[in-house]
Protein backbone atom coordinates (compact mmCIF):
# COMPACT_ATOMS: atom_id res chain seq x y z
CA UNK A 1 0.00 0.00 0.00
CA UNK A 2 2.86 2.37 0.84
CA UNK A 3 4.28 1.83 -2.63
CA UNK A 4 0.94 2.82 -4.05
CA UNK A 5 1.05 6.05 -2.10
CA UNK A 6 4.49 6.68 -3.46
CA UNK A 7 3.19 6.30 -7.01
CA UNK A 8 0.43 8.80 -6.45
CA UNK A 9 2.92 11.21 -4.90
CA UNK A 10 5.34 10.88 -7.78
CA UNK A 11 2.61 11.50 -10.29
CA UNK A 12 1.31 14.45 -8.28
CA UNK A 13 4.81 15.84 -8.28
CA UNK A 14 5.08 15.39 -12.02
CA UNK A 15 1.89 17.31 -12.52
CA UNK A 16 2.57 20.39 -10.53
CA UNK A 17 6.19 21.13 -10.00
CA UNK A 18 8.59 21.77 -12.82
CA UNK A 19 11.21 20.93 -10.20
CA UNK A 20 10.40 17.30 -10.71
CA UNK A 21 11.48 17.36 -14.32
CA UNK A 22 14.57 19.27 -13.26
CA UNK A 23 15.63 16.79 -10.59
CA UNK A 24 15.01 13.84 -12.84
CA UNK A 25 16.58 15.41 -15.84
CA UNK A 26 18.10 12.16 -17.20
CA UNK A 27 14.66 10.60 -17.35
CA UNK A 28 12.79 13.64 -18.48
CA UNK A 29 11.53 13.92 -21.99
CA UNK A 30 10.34 17.47 -21.45
CA UNK A 31 10.91 19.53 -24.55
CA UNK A 32 10.91 16.53 -26.85
CA UNK A 33 7.85 16.30 -29.07
CA UNK A 34 5.36 14.01 -27.33
CA UNK A 35 4.16 11.10 -29.42
CA UNK A 36 0.93 10.84 -27.49
CA UNK A 37 -2.20 12.04 -29.25
CA UNK A 38 -3.25 13.53 -25.94
CA UNK A 39 -0.59 16.17 -26.23
CA UNK A 40 -3.22 18.84 -26.26
CA UNK A 41 -4.27 17.79 -22.78
CA UNK A 42 -1.23 19.49 -21.29
CA UNK A 43 2.51 19.09 -21.19
CA UNK A 44 2.47 16.72 -18.17
CA UNK A 45 2.29 13.38 -19.98
CA UNK A 46 5.93 13.17 -21.03
CA UNK A 47 7.01 13.85 -17.46
CA UNK A 48 4.62 11.23 -16.24
CA UNK A 49 5.99 8.65 -18.66
CA UNK A 50 9.44 9.37 -17.24
CA UNK A 51 8.12 9.05 -13.69
CA UNK A 52 6.33 5.80 -14.47
CA UNK A 53 9.50 4.47 -16.07
CA UNK A 54 11.34 4.89 -12.75
CA UNK A 55 8.87 2.63 -10.94
CA UNK A 56 9.74 -0.98 -10.16
CA UNK A 57 6.32 -2.29 -11.26
CA UNK A 58 4.04 -2.03 -14.25
CA UNK A 59 2.08 1.23 -14.26
CA UNK A 60 -0.02 2.98 -16.87
CA UNK A 61 -2.24 5.97 -17.27
CA UNK A 62 -5.56 5.76 -19.13
CA UNK A 63 -7.62 8.63 -20.48
CA UNK A 64 -11.39 9.01 -20.38
CA UNK A 65 -11.90 7.00 -23.57
CA UNK A 66 -9.94 4.08 -22.14
CA UNK A 67 -6.89 4.78 -24.29
CA UNK A 68 -3.38 4.43 -22.93
CA UNK A 69 -2.01 7.95 -22.30
CA UNK A 70 1.28 6.90 -20.72
CA UNK A 71 2.94 3.66 -19.63
CA UNK A 72 6.24 2.28 -18.47
CA UNK A 73 8.22 -0.53 -20.09
CA UNK A 74 7.11 -3.06 -17.47
CA UNK A 75 3.46 -2.32 -18.31
CA UNK A 76 4.11 -2.71 -22.03
CA UNK A 77 5.81 -6.04 -21.39
CA UNK A 78 3.04 -7.33 -19.13
CA UNK A 79 -0.03 -6.02 -20.96
CA UNK A 80 1.08 -5.16 -24.49
CA UNK A 81 -0.29 -1.64 -23.93
CA UNK A 82 0.63 0.94 -26.58
CA UNK A 83 0.18 4.67 -26.18
CA UNK A 84 -2.90 5.93 -28.02
CA UNK A 85 -4.49 2.49 -28.31
CA UNK A 86 -7.51 1.37 -26.28
CA UNK A 87 -6.20 -0.58 -23.29
CA UNK A 88 -9.10 -3.04 -23.41
CA UNK A 89 -8.04 -4.16 -26.88
CA UNK A 90 -4.56 -5.26 -25.83
CA UNK A 91 -5.14 -6.58 -22.32
CA UNK A 92 -8.26 -8.63 -21.75
CA UNK A 93 -8.84 -9.07 -18.04
CA UNK A 94 -12.49 -8.35 -17.20
CA UNK A 95 -11.84 -7.79 -13.47
CA UNK A 96 -9.20 -5.15 -14.16
CA UNK A 97 -11.42 -3.34 -16.64
CA UNK A 98 -14.27 -3.41 -14.13
CA UNK A 99 -11.98 -1.73 -11.59
CA UNK A 100 -10.90 0.88 -14.14
CA UNK A 101 -14.53 1.58 -14.97
CA UNK A 102 -15.41 2.01 -11.30
CA UNK A 103 -12.73 4.68 -11.01
CA UNK A 104 -13.83 6.30 -14.26
CA UNK A 105 -17.33 6.47 -12.83
CA UNK A 106 -16.10 8.32 -9.77
CA UNK A 107 -14.73 5.79 -7.26
CA UNK A 108 -11.73 6.99 -5.19
CA UNK A 109 -9.81 3.80 -5.73
CA UNK A 110 -10.47 0.28 -6.92
CA UNK A 111 -8.54 -2.95 -6.68
CA UNK A 112 -8.50 -6.16 -8.67
CA UNK A 113 -6.48 -9.32 -8.38
CA UNK A 114 -6.25 -11.85 -11.14
CA UNK A 115 -4.07 -14.60 -12.53
CA UNK A 116 -2.78 -14.92 -16.07
CA UNK A 117 -2.79 -18.70 -16.52
CA UNK A 118 -0.73 -19.04 -19.69
CA UNK A 119 2.03 -19.35 -20.81
CA UNK A 120 3.44 -19.25 -17.26
CA UNK A 121 1.00 -18.64 -14.45
CA UNK A 122 1.35 -15.12 -13.05
CA UNK A 123 -0.60 -13.55 -10.23
CA UNK A 124 -1.19 -9.83 -10.39
CA UNK A 125 -2.62 -7.36 -7.92
CA UNK A 126 -3.90 -4.15 -9.46
CA UNK A 127 -4.70 -0.78 -7.90
CA UNK A 128 -6.51 1.90 -9.85
CA UNK A 129 -6.97 5.53 -8.78
CA UNK A 130 -8.09 8.75 -10.50
CA UNK A 131 -5.67 11.59 -11.27
CA UNK A 132 -6.29 14.96 -12.84
CA UNK A 133 -3.79 16.35 -15.30
CA UNK A 134 -4.22 19.65 -17.09
CA UNK A 135 -7.91 19.72 -16.23
CA UNK A 136 -8.58 16.26 -17.66
CA UNK A 137 -9.33 13.14 -15.69
CA UNK A 138 -7.23 10.02 -16.03
CA UNK A 139 -7.03 6.64 -14.31
CA UNK A 140 -3.71 5.44 -13.05
CA UNK A 141 -3.39 1.65 -12.93
CA UNK A 142 -0.61 0.05 -10.99
CA UNK A 143 0.02 -3.67 -11.56
CA UNK A 144 2.04 -5.54 -8.96
CA UNK A 145 3.32 -9.02 -9.86
CA UNK A 146 2.86 -11.17 -6.76
CA UNK A 147 3.60 -14.53 -8.42
CA UNK A 148 6.61 -15.31 -6.21
CA UNK A 149 4.66 -14.51 -3.04
CA UNK A 150 1.74 -16.67 -4.06
CA UNK A 151 4.06 -19.54 -4.89
CA UNK A 152 5.89 -19.41 -1.56
CA UNK A 153 2.55 -19.30 0.23
CA UNK A 154 1.38 -22.37 -1.67
CA UNK A 155 4.58 -24.28 -0.96
CA UNK A 156 4.22 -23.55 2.74
CA UNK A 157 0.59 -24.63 2.74
CA UNK A 158 1.48 -27.82 0.84
CA UNK A 159 4.29 -28.61 3.25
CA UNK A 160 2.11 -28.19 6.33
CA UNK A 161 -0.65 -30.26 4.72
CA UNK A 162 1.79 -33.04 3.75
CA UNK A 163 3.59 -33.13 7.09
CA UNK A 164 0.35 -33.25 9.07
CA UNK A 165 -1.02 -35.93 6.80
CA UNK A 166 2.10 -38.05 7.28
CA UNK A 167 1.90 -37.68 11.05
CA UNK A 168 -1.82 -38.27 11.27
CA UNK A 169 -1.78 -41.68 9.61
CA UNK A 170 0.32 -43.45 12.28
CA UNK A 171 -1.48 -41.49 14.98
CA UNK A 172 -4.86 -42.72 13.76
CA UNK A 173 -3.62 -46.28 13.86
CA UNK A 174 -2.15 -45.78 17.36
CA UNK A 175 -5.36 -44.44 18.83
CA UNK A 176 -7.39 -47.11 17.03
CA UNK A 177 -5.36 -49.91 18.59
CA UNK A 178 -5.44 -48.23 22.00
CA UNK A 179 -9.23 -48.24 21.86
CA UNK A 180 -9.23 -51.92 20.88
CA UNK A 181 -6.86 -52.87 23.68
CA UNK A 182 -8.94 -51.02 26.26
CA UNK A 183 -12.21 -52.30 24.84
CA UNK A 184 -12.88 -55.54 22.95
CA UNK A 185 -9.37 -57.01 23.37
CA UNK A 186 -9.11 -56.24 27.07
CA UNK A 187 -8.93 -59.88 28.17
CA UNK A 188 -6.96 -61.21 25.24
CA UNK A 189 -3.26 -61.05 26.11
CA UNK A 190 -2.26 -62.59 22.78
CA UNK A 191 -4.03 -59.94 20.68
CA UNK A 192 -2.85 -57.22 23.03
CA UNK A 193 0.73 -58.31 22.49
CA UNK A 194 0.28 -58.23 18.72
CA UNK A 195 -1.36 -54.82 18.79
CA UNK A 196 1.37 -53.43 21.02
CA UNK A 197 3.94 -54.51 18.46
CA UNK A 198 2.08 -52.72 15.69
CA UNK A 199 1.77 -49.65 17.90
CA UNK A 200 5.48 -49.76 18.54
CA UNK A 201 6.24 -49.79 14.83
CA UNK A 202 3.81 -46.91 14.22
CA UNK A 203 5.41 -44.92 17.02
CA UNK A 204 8.80 -45.62 15.44
CA UNK A 205 7.50 -44.35 12.15
CA UNK A 206 6.35 -41.11 13.73
CA UNK A 207 9.70 -40.72 15.42
CA UNK A 208 11.54 -41.27 12.12
CA UNK A 209 9.39 -38.65 10.47
CA UNK A 210 9.94 -36.10 13.22
CA UNK A 211 13.68 -36.86 13.26
CA UNK A 212 13.80 -36.26 9.51
CA UNK A 213 11.82 -33.04 9.77
CA UNK A 214 14.10 -31.78 12.52
CA UNK A 215 17.29 -32.65 10.68
CA UNK A 216 15.91 -31.00 7.55
CA UNK A 217 15.26 -27.79 9.43
CA UNK A 218 18.70 -27.97 11.09
CA UNK A 219 20.39 -28.40 7.71
CA UNK A 220 18.41 -25.53 6.23
CA UNK A 221 19.49 -23.32 9.12
CA UNK A 222 23.16 -23.86 8.21
CA UNK A 223 22.68 -24.05 4.48
CA UNK A 224 24.56 -20.86 3.64
CA UNK A 225 27.55 -21.77 5.88
CA UNK A 226 30.02 -23.89 3.98
CA UNK A 227 31.65 -26.66 5.97
CA UNK A 228 35.45 -26.38 6.32
CA UNK A 229 36.45 -29.73 7.85
CA UNK A 230 38.20 -32.57 6.05
CA UNK A 231 36.28 -35.81 5.68
CA UNK A 232 37.08 -39.19 4.18
CA UNK A 233 34.06 -40.37 2.20
CA UNK A 234 35.40 -43.92 1.82
CA UNK A 235 35.77 -44.34 5.59
CA UNK A 236 32.31 -42.87 6.10
CA UNK A 237 30.76 -45.34 3.66
CA UNK A 238 32.50 -48.27 5.35
CA UNK A 239 31.25 -47.14 8.76
CA UNK A 240 27.70 -46.80 7.48
CA UNK A 241 27.80 -50.26 5.92
CA UNK A 242 29.32 -51.82 9.05
CA UNK A 243 26.72 -50.22 11.28
CA UNK A 244 23.92 -51.37 8.99
CA UNK A 245 25.17 -54.96 8.73
CA UNK A 246 22.32 -56.57 10.73
CA UNK A 247 19.79 -54.82 8.51
CA UNK A 248 21.60 -55.85 5.35
CA UNK A 249 21.75 -59.45 6.50
CA UNK A 250 18.04 -59.42 7.24
CA UNK A 251 17.30 -58.05 3.75
CA UNK A 252 19.72 -60.58 2.26
CA UNK A 253 21.66 -57.84 0.49
CA UNK A 254 25.39 -57.50 -0.02
CA UNK A 255 27.10 -54.12 -0.40
CA UNK A 256 30.20 -54.12 -2.58
CA UNK A 257 32.44 -51.13 -1.99
CA UNK A 258 34.98 -50.14 -4.59
CA UNK A 259 37.35 -47.24 -4.11
CA UNK A 260 39.03 -46.06 -7.32
CA UNK A 261 42.61 -44.88 -7.39
CA UNK A 262 43.10 -41.17 -6.78
CA UNK A 263 39.95 -40.69 -4.68
CA UNK A 264 40.62 -37.70 -2.44
CA UNK A 265 39.11 -36.60 0.84
CA UNK A 266 36.34 -34.00 0.66
CA UNK A 267 35.46 -30.74 2.38
CA UNK A 268 32.51 -31.62 4.53
CA UNK A 269 30.78 -32.18 7.81
CA UNK A 270 31.21 -35.80 8.76
CA UNK A 271 27.81 -36.22 10.42
CA UNK A 272 25.98 -34.83 7.41
CA UNK A 273 27.93 -36.95 4.93
CA UNK A 274 27.06 -39.97 7.07
CA UNK A 275 23.41 -38.97 6.66
CA UNK A 276 23.79 -38.85 2.87
CA UNK A 277 25.49 -42.25 2.67
CA UNK A 278 22.93 -43.69 5.07
CA UNK A 279 19.97 -42.37 3.07
CA UNK A 280 21.34 -43.53 -0.29
CA UNK A 281 22.22 -47.01 0.97
CA UNK A 282 18.89 -47.29 2.82
CA UNK A 283 17.06 -46.42 -0.38
CA UNK A 284 19.05 -49.01 -2.32
CA UNK A 285 18.13 -51.63 0.28
CA UNK A 286 14.47 -50.56 0.31
CA UNK A 287 13.90 -50.37 -3.42
CA UNK A 288 16.61 -52.67 -4.77
CA UNK A 289 15.82 -56.25 -5.74
CA UNK A 290 15.78 -58.73 -2.87
CA UNK A 291 19.05 -60.63 -2.72
CA UNK A 292 20.56 -58.24 -5.25
CA UNK A 293 23.90 -56.60 -4.69
CA UNK A 294 24.37 -52.90 -4.10
CA UNK A 295 27.41 -51.48 -5.83
CA UNK A 296 29.00 -48.53 -4.04
CA UNK A 297 31.79 -46.79 -5.91
CA UNK A 298 34.04 -43.94 -4.92
CA UNK A 299 35.99 -42.20 -7.65
CA UNK A 300 37.41 -38.81 -8.61
CA UNK A 301 34.84 -36.53 -10.24
CA UNK A 302 35.17 -35.73 -13.95
CA UNK A 303 36.92 -32.36 -13.55
CA UNK A 304 39.13 -33.33 -10.63
CA UNK A 305 37.62 -30.82 -8.21
CA UNK A 306 35.12 -33.25 -6.74
CA UNK A 307 34.99 -36.72 -5.30
CA UNK A 308 32.08 -38.85 -6.43
CA UNK A 309 30.13 -41.50 -4.57
CA UNK A 310 27.69 -43.65 -6.49
CA UNK A 311 25.20 -46.13 -5.09
CA UNK A 312 23.62 -48.46 -7.64
CA UNK A 313 20.93 -51.08 -7.09
CA UNK A 314 19.34 -53.63 -9.37
CA UNK A 315 15.80 -52.95 -8.30
CA UNK A 316 12.61 -51.62 -9.83
CA UNK A 317 14.05 -48.45 -11.23
CA UNK A 318 12.20 -45.17 -11.52
CA UNK A 319 10.23 -43.92 -14.51
CA UNK A 320 11.61 -40.88 -16.26
CA UNK A 321 8.84 -38.46 -15.33
CA UNK A 322 9.53 -38.89 -11.60
CA UNK A 323 13.26 -38.14 -11.74
CA UNK A 324 13.10 -34.33 -11.63
CA UNK A 325 10.75 -34.36 -8.64
CA UNK A 326 12.44 -37.03 -6.48
CA UNK A 327 14.10 -34.53 -4.16
CA UNK A 328 10.83 -32.71 -3.38
CA UNK A 329 9.65 -33.17 0.17
CA UNK A 330 7.13 -35.98 0.51
CA UNK A 331 7.29 -36.75 -3.19
CA UNK A 332 6.98 -40.49 -3.65
CA UNK A 333 6.82 -42.61 -6.74
CA UNK A 334 4.63 -45.12 -4.93
CA UNK A 335 3.42 -43.79 -1.59
CA UNK A 336 2.11 -47.09 -0.23
CA UNK A 337 5.25 -49.05 -1.09
CA UNK A 338 7.39 -46.33 0.44
CA UNK A 339 5.49 -46.32 3.74
CA UNK A 340 5.54 -50.11 3.95
CA UNK A 341 9.30 -49.95 3.82
CA UNK A 342 9.51 -47.27 6.48
CA UNK A 343 10.19 -44.34 4.17
CA UNK A 344 9.34 -40.84 5.32
CA UNK A 345 9.43 -39.20 1.89
CA UNK A 346 12.14 -36.85 3.14
CA UNK A 347 15.33 -38.85 2.57
CA UNK A 348 16.32 -37.38 -0.78
CA UNK A 349 15.19 -33.90 0.26
CA UNK A 350 17.69 -34.17 3.11
CA UNK A 351 20.39 -35.39 0.72
CA UNK A 352 19.71 -32.44 -1.59
CA UNK A 353 19.91 -29.87 1.19
CA UNK A 354 23.11 -31.32 2.63
CA UNK A 355 24.65 -31.26 -0.84
CA UNK A 356 23.52 -27.66 -1.31
CA UNK A 357 25.38 -26.75 1.84
CA UNK A 358 28.48 -28.62 0.63
CA UNK A 359 28.23 -27.03 -2.85
CA UNK A 360 27.92 -30.55 -4.19
CA UNK A 361 25.39 -32.03 -6.58
CA UNK A 362 23.28 -35.13 -7.09
CA UNK A 363 22.82 -37.11 -10.28
CA UNK A 364 20.17 -39.76 -10.70
CA UNK A 365 20.21 -42.34 -13.46
CA UNK A 366 17.49 -44.90 -13.64
CA UNK A 367 15.84 -47.27 -15.99
CA UNK A 368 12.57 -48.97 -15.06
CA UNK A 369 13.15 -52.67 -14.47
CA UNK A 370 16.93 -52.41 -14.40
CA UNK A 371 17.74 -50.38 -11.33
CA UNK A 372 18.80 -46.93 -10.24
CA UNK A 373 22.10 -45.21 -9.65
CA UNK A 374 22.46 -42.19 -7.38
CA UNK A 375 25.74 -40.33 -7.64
CA UNK A 376 26.83 -37.44 -5.46
CA UNK A 377 29.74 -35.11 -6.18
CA UNK A 378 31.35 -33.32 -3.24
CA UNK A 379 34.19 -30.77 -3.60
CA UNK A 380 37.60 -32.21 -2.64
CA UNK A 381 39.26 -30.95 0.50
CA UNK A 382 41.36 -27.84 0.12
CA UNK A 383 43.61 -26.79 2.96
CA UNK A 384 42.23 -23.55 4.47
CA UNK A 385 40.94 -21.74 1.37
CA UNK A 386 40.42 -18.49 3.32
CA UNK A 387 44.15 -18.05 4.06
CA UNK A 388 45.19 -18.61 0.46
CA UNK A 389 42.69 -15.99 -0.62
CA UNK A 390 44.31 -13.48 1.75
CA UNK A 391 47.79 -14.41 0.54
CA UNK A 392 46.80 -14.18 -3.11
Amino acid sequence: MSLWLAVTLIVAAALGAAAFAFIHAPHSLAGAPAAAPNEAAGGGLADITAALQALPHAALLLDETGRVAAKNAAAAELTGAAVGKPFAASFRVPDLHAAIEQVRDGADTAEASFTLPVPVERSIEAHVAPVEIGGRRYQLAFLHDITAMVRVEKMRADFVANASHELRTPLTSLSGFLETIMGPAKDDPEATQRFLEIMQSQAARMRRLIDDLLSLSRIELNEHMRPAAKADLAAIVRDVVDAGQPLLTRANVKVLIEVAEGTRPVTGERDELVQIAQNLIDNAVKYGAEGGDIAVRLFPGPDGTTTALSVADKGLGIAREHLPRLTERFYRVDATASRERGGTGLGLAIVKHILNRHRGRLEIESEPGKGSKFTIFVPVWQPVPAASAVAG
Binding site: E64, G66, G80, P86, A88, A89, S90, R92, P117
Partner: protein, 238 residues
Protein backbone atom coordinates in the same frame (compact mmCIF):
# COMPACT_ATOMS: atom_id res chain seq x y z
CA UNK B 1 -19.31 0.04 -21.06
CA UNK B 2 -17.11 2.69 -22.49
CA UNK B 3 -19.29 4.22 -25.15
CA UNK B 4 -17.88 7.61 -24.25
CA UNK B 5 -16.76 10.08 -26.82
CA UNK B 6 -17.16 7.83 -29.82
CA UNK B 7 -17.85 10.32 -32.54
CA UNK B 8 -15.87 9.46 -35.62
CA UNK B 9 -16.16 6.58 -38.04
CA UNK B 10 -12.62 5.52 -37.03
CA UNK B 11 -13.69 5.61 -33.42
CA UNK B 12 -16.74 3.44 -34.14
CA UNK B 13 -14.62 0.80 -35.86
CA UNK B 14 -12.09 0.84 -33.06
CA UNK B 15 -14.88 0.52 -30.52
CA UNK B 16 -16.12 -2.60 -32.31
CA UNK B 17 -12.77 -4.37 -32.15
CA UNK B 18 -12.23 -3.24 -28.55
CA UNK B 19 -15.58 -4.77 -27.63
CA UNK B 20 -14.57 -7.99 -29.40
CA UNK B 21 -11.36 -8.04 -27.32
CA UNK B 22 -13.36 -7.41 -24.15
CA UNK B 23 -15.75 -10.21 -25.00
CA UNK B 24 -12.77 -12.47 -25.64
CA UNK B 25 -11.37 -11.48 -22.25
CA UNK B 26 -14.59 -12.49 -20.48
CA UNK B 27 -14.55 -15.82 -22.34
CA UNK B 28 -10.92 -16.41 -21.36
CA UNK B 29 -11.71 -15.66 -17.72
CA UNK B 30 -14.76 -17.95 -17.89
CA UNK B 31 -12.78 -20.84 -19.34
CA UNK B 32 -9.94 -20.32 -16.88
CA UNK B 33 -12.40 -20.19 -13.98
CA UNK B 34 -14.18 -23.34 -15.17
CA UNK B 35 -10.89 -25.24 -15.34
CA UNK B 36 -9.81 -23.93 -11.94
CA UNK B 37 -13.18 -24.90 -10.46
CA UNK B 38 -12.63 -28.41 -11.80
CA UNK B 39 -9.05 -28.64 -10.56
CA UNK B 40 -9.57 -27.09 -7.12
CA UNK B 41 -13.07 -28.52 -6.65
CA UNK B 42 -14.32 -25.00 -6.06
CA UNK B 43 -18.10 -24.98 -6.48
CA UNK B 44 -18.50 -21.30 -5.57
CA UNK B 45 -16.15 -20.39 -8.41
CA UNK B 46 -18.10 -22.63 -10.78
CA UNK B 47 -21.31 -20.83 -9.80
CA UNK B 48 -19.73 -17.44 -10.46
CA UNK B 49 -18.51 -18.63 -13.86
CA UNK B 50 -21.95 -19.90 -14.87
CA UNK B 51 -23.31 -16.46 -13.96
CA UNK B 52 -20.66 -14.61 -16.00
CA UNK B 53 -21.78 -16.21 -19.26
CA UNK B 54 -24.52 -13.55 -19.28
CA UNK B 55 -21.91 -10.86 -19.72
CA UNK B 56 -20.73 -12.60 -22.88
CA UNK B 57 -24.24 -12.57 -24.31
CA UNK B 58 -24.53 -8.87 -23.47
CA UNK B 59 -21.28 -8.09 -25.25
CA UNK B 60 -22.33 -10.16 -28.26
CA UNK B 61 -25.50 -8.11 -28.58
CA UNK B 62 -23.48 -4.93 -28.22
CA UNK B 63 -21.13 -6.00 -31.04
CA UNK B 64 -24.08 -6.90 -33.22
CA UNK B 65 -25.72 -3.54 -32.59
CA UNK B 66 -22.55 -1.58 -33.27
CA UNK B 67 -21.74 -3.56 -36.43
CA UNK B 68 -25.20 -3.29 -37.90
CA UNK B 69 -25.15 0.45 -37.23
CA UNK B 70 -21.81 0.86 -39.00
CA UNK B 71 -22.97 -1.28 -41.93
CA UNK B 72 -26.19 0.69 -42.29
CA UNK B 73 -24.93 4.22 -41.76
CA UNK B 74 -21.33 4.14 -42.97
CA UNK B 75 -21.47 1.51 -45.70
CA UNK B 76 -17.87 0.42 -45.10
CA UNK B 77 -15.69 -1.05 -47.86
CA UNK B 78 -12.37 -2.92 -47.97
CA UNK B 79 -10.67 -3.57 -44.65
CA UNK B 80 -13.38 -1.64 -42.76
CA UNK B 81 -16.03 -3.94 -44.18
CA UNK B 82 -13.95 -6.98 -43.30
CA UNK B 83 -13.47 -5.68 -39.78
CA UNK B 84 -17.20 -5.27 -39.30
CA UNK B 85 -18.09 -8.63 -40.78
CA UNK B 86 -15.34 -10.55 -38.94
CA UNK B 87 -16.36 -8.87 -35.66
CA UNK B 88 -19.83 -10.38 -36.10
CA UNK B 89 -18.42 -13.81 -36.90
CA UNK B 90 -15.77 -13.79 -34.18
CA UNK B 91 -18.31 -12.72 -31.58
CA UNK B 92 -20.40 -15.74 -32.60
CA UNK B 93 -17.43 -18.02 -32.06
CA UNK B 94 -16.62 -16.46 -28.69
CA UNK B 95 -20.23 -16.82 -27.64
CA UNK B 96 -20.01 -20.56 -28.38
CA UNK B 97 -16.77 -20.79 -26.40
CA UNK B 98 -18.56 -19.10 -23.51
CA UNK B 99 -21.36 -21.66 -23.66
CA UNK B 100 -18.90 -24.57 -23.72
CA UNK B 101 -16.97 -23.13 -20.77
CA UNK B 102 -20.21 -22.58 -18.87
CA UNK B 103 -21.09 -26.21 -19.49
CA UNK B 104 -17.71 -27.27 -18.08
CA UNK B 105 -18.42 -25.21 -14.96
CA UNK B 106 -21.81 -26.91 -14.60
CA UNK B 107 -20.24 -30.34 -14.87
CA UNK B 108 -17.57 -29.30 -12.36
CA UNK B 109 -20.42 -28.68 -9.91
CA UNK B 110 -21.60 -32.28 -10.39
CA UNK B 111 -18.09 -33.73 -10.17
CA UNK B 112 -17.35 -31.80 -6.98
CA UNK B 113 -20.10 -33.72 -5.23
CA UNK B 114 -18.28 -37.00 -5.98
CA UNK B 115 -14.95 -38.27 -4.70
CA UNK B 116 -11.89 -36.66 -6.25
CA UNK B 117 -10.48 -38.54 -9.23
CA UNK B 118 -7.01 -38.44 -10.69
CA UNK B 119 -8.45 -38.35 -14.20
CA UNK B 120 -9.18 -34.63 -13.98
CA UNK B 121 -5.42 -33.98 -14.29
CA UNK B 122 -5.36 -34.79 -18.00
CA UNK B 123 -8.37 -32.55 -18.51
CA UNK B 124 -6.72 -29.68 -16.67
CA UNK B 125 -3.72 -30.02 -18.96
CA UNK B 126 -5.95 -30.04 -21.99
CA UNK B 127 -7.77 -27.00 -20.61
CA UNK B 128 -4.48 -25.10 -20.25
CA UNK B 129 -3.67 -25.96 -23.85
CA UNK B 130 -7.05 -24.55 -24.95
CA UNK B 131 -6.50 -21.39 -22.90
CA UNK B 132 -3.11 -20.95 -24.56
CA UNK B 133 -4.74 -21.26 -27.98
CA UNK B 134 -7.54 -18.88 -27.11
CA UNK B 135 -5.13 -16.30 -25.71
CA UNK B 136 -2.86 -16.60 -28.74
CA UNK B 137 -5.69 -16.11 -31.22
CA UNK B 138 -7.14 -13.12 -29.35
CA UNK B 139 -3.65 -11.61 -29.17
CA UNK B 140 -3.33 -12.19 -32.92
CA UNK B 141 -6.67 -10.41 -33.41
CA UNK B 142 -5.56 -7.43 -31.28
CA UNK B 143 -2.25 -7.22 -33.17
CA UNK B 144 -3.83 -7.99 -36.58
CA UNK B 145 -1.12 -10.63 -36.95
CA UNK B 146 -1.99 -13.22 -39.62
CA UNK B 147 1.14 -15.30 -38.98
CA UNK B 148 0.34 -15.69 -35.28
CA UNK B 149 -3.22 -16.64 -36.22
CA UNK B 150 -1.93 -19.28 -38.64
CA UNK B 151 0.19 -20.73 -35.82
CA UNK B 152 -2.94 -21.17 -33.72
CA UNK B 153 -4.69 -22.74 -36.68
CA UNK B 154 -1.90 -25.31 -37.12
CA UNK B 155 -1.47 -26.09 -33.43
CA UNK B 156 -5.05 -27.31 -33.00
CA UNK B 157 -3.85 -30.82 -33.73
CA UNK B 158 -2.16 -30.95 -30.32
CA UNK B 159 -5.48 -30.44 -28.58
CA UNK B 160 -7.01 -33.15 -30.77
CA UNK B 161 -4.25 -35.55 -29.78
CA UNK B 162 -4.76 -34.82 -26.08
CA UNK B 163 -8.46 -35.40 -26.62
CA UNK B 164 -7.81 -38.78 -28.27
CA UNK B 165 -5.63 -39.92 -25.40
CA UNK B 166 -8.14 -38.79 -22.74
CA UNK B 167 -10.97 -40.40 -24.68
CA UNK B 168 -9.21 -43.79 -24.72
CA UNK B 169 -8.17 -43.48 -21.09
CA UNK B 170 -11.76 -42.82 -20.00
CA UNK B 171 -13.12 -45.68 -22.11
CA UNK B 172 -10.66 -48.07 -20.47
CA UNK B 173 -11.54 -46.73 -17.06
CA UNK B 174 -15.25 -47.25 -17.61
CA UNK B 175 -14.75 -50.84 -18.77
CA UNK B 176 -12.62 -51.67 -15.78
CA UNK B 177 -15.19 -50.42 -13.33
CA UNK B 178 -18.77 -49.78 -14.50
CA UNK B 179 -19.49 -47.80 -11.32
CA UNK B 180 -17.38 -44.98 -12.75
CA UNK B 181 -19.50 -44.64 -15.89
CA UNK B 182 -21.57 -41.66 -14.74
CA UNK B 183 -18.49 -39.81 -13.52
CA UNK B 184 -16.41 -40.66 -16.56
CA UNK B 185 -19.21 -39.55 -18.87
CA UNK B 186 -19.09 -36.08 -17.38
CA UNK B 187 -15.32 -36.05 -17.83
CA UNK B 188 -15.75 -37.22 -21.40
CA UNK B 189 -18.13 -34.36 -22.15
CA UNK B 190 -15.74 -31.89 -20.58
CA UNK B 191 -12.98 -33.20 -22.83
CA UNK B 192 -15.28 -32.90 -25.83
CA UNK B 193 -16.18 -29.33 -24.84
CA UNK B 194 -12.52 -28.41 -24.60
CA UNK B 195 -11.87 -29.96 -27.97
CA UNK B 196 -14.69 -27.80 -29.38
CA UNK B 197 -13.18 -24.71 -27.75
CA UNK B 198 -10.00 -25.51 -29.68
CA UNK B 199 -12.01 -25.74 -32.91
CA UNK B 200 -13.67 -22.37 -32.27
CA UNK B 201 -10.24 -20.86 -31.62
CA UNK B 202 -9.12 -22.05 -35.05
CA UNK B 203 -12.28 -20.58 -36.59
CA UNK B 204 -11.35 -17.25 -35.03
CA UNK B 205 -7.85 -17.69 -36.44
CA UNK B 206 -9.35 -18.08 -39.92
CA UNK B 207 -11.29 -14.85 -39.43
CA UNK B 208 -8.15 -13.02 -38.30
CA UNK B 209 -6.33 -14.17 -41.44
CA UNK B 210 -9.29 -13.03 -43.59
CA UNK B 211 -9.39 -9.70 -41.77
CA UNK B 212 -5.70 -8.95 -42.34
CA UNK B 213 -5.17 -10.51 -45.78
CA UNK B 214 -8.54 -10.26 -47.40
CA UNK B 215 -8.45 -13.90 -48.47
CA UNK B 216 -9.32 -17.16 -46.76
CA UNK B 217 -6.88 -19.86 -45.75
CA UNK B 218 -6.81 -22.28 -48.68
CA UNK B 219 -5.62 -25.62 -47.36
CA UNK B 220 -7.71 -27.92 -45.22
CA UNK B 221 -7.23 -27.54 -41.51
CA UNK B 222 -5.16 -30.38 -39.99
CA UNK B 223 -7.53 -32.79 -38.31
CA UNK B 224 -6.27 -34.90 -35.43
CA UNK B 225 -9.53 -35.94 -33.78
CA UNK B 226 -9.74 -39.68 -34.38
CA UNK B 227 -12.26 -40.54 -31.68
CA UNK B 228 -15.04 -40.95 -34.22
CA UNK B 229 -13.38 -44.23 -35.16
CA UNK B 230 -11.84 -45.01 -31.75
CA UNK B 231 -12.66 -48.13 -29.76
CA UNK B 232 -10.97 -49.98 -26.98
CA UNK B 233 -11.36 -53.79 -27.26
CA UNK B 234 -13.13 -55.22 -24.24
CA UNK B 235 -10.76 -58.20 -23.79
CA UNK B 236 -7.83 -55.89 -23.29
CA UNK B 237 -8.81 -54.93 -19.78
CA UNK B 238 -10.58 -57.96 -18.32
Amino acid sequence: MSEHLVKSYEGELEQISTTVAQMGGVAEALLQGAIDALQRRDSALADRMIESDRRIDELERSIEGQSVKVLALRQPVGVDLRLTVTALRISNEIERIGDLAKNIAKRALVLNRENPVRLTQGLVRMGRECLTQLKAVLDAYAARDAEAALDVWRRDEEIDELYNSIFRELLTYMMEDPRTISLATHLLFIAKNLERVGDHATNIAEQVVYLTRGSYIGEDRPKGDATASSTVPYEQTS
